[in-house]
Symmetry: C2
């Protein structure tokens, strides 16, 4: 009852994942950092780093983000302070929204 199997990703997703992979490999090579060493710093195996740099979408988000971070790649705010406050603001905004997503019966505002 698991059948995770072959997922169908959108083209955007596929390219975004691959771009991130290429950016990572680029940054690593530019910094002359051997895969083995980067993997150790990130707390992952060399094999996993290899998959990440290959653009495997089945790698864990945390591992990929951590590797990117160690190489100086910032997906959101470039400094931690800014990211922290952005996060706080987003949480506040979220708290103001309704807690459930319910479609108003039928008729209007539906995304066909």
């Amino acid at each position: 009852m698991a059948k995770t199997a072959n997922r169908a990703y959108s083209r955007y997703t596929r390219e975004a994942v691959e771009l991130l992979a290429v950016m990572i490999r680029e940054a690593r090579i530019e910094r002359k950092l051997p895969a083995k060493e980067l993997a150790e710093r990130a707390g992952i195996s060399r094999g996993l780093l290899q998959r990440i740099e290959k653009g495997d979408p089945n790698c864990s988000l945390g591992a990929v983000f951590e590797v990117a971070y160690l190489l100086g790649i910032r997906l959101f705010d470039s400094d931690e302070r800014a990211l922290a406050s952005t996060l706080v603001m987003s949480k506040e905004k979220l708290s103001l929204l309704p807690k459930m997503a319910r479609k108003p019966a039928r008729g209007v505002d539906d995304d066909f």
Copy 2:
């Protein structure tokens, strides 16, 4: 011999993952899209979507990116055409770099 275990993420990574999670939940609620429906569209289970919106770093990169994409969240270029060309350029740049990361013997250019 797997012992994947508890990884230690940097603060930046933790916050980046959580921010993405909040952005996703925000976008979903704003669009009045029930979790069940979004999960179906993304080809994942409702349980996984729940973990994604909770900021679990152990979710697969592809699943998270796909959900974000479906909600209109673009981590890189906003339109697919731009992303595609960015990807091509990045690949070209990568092809010009040395293929291995080797540290020049000893002495200079080391990132301590």
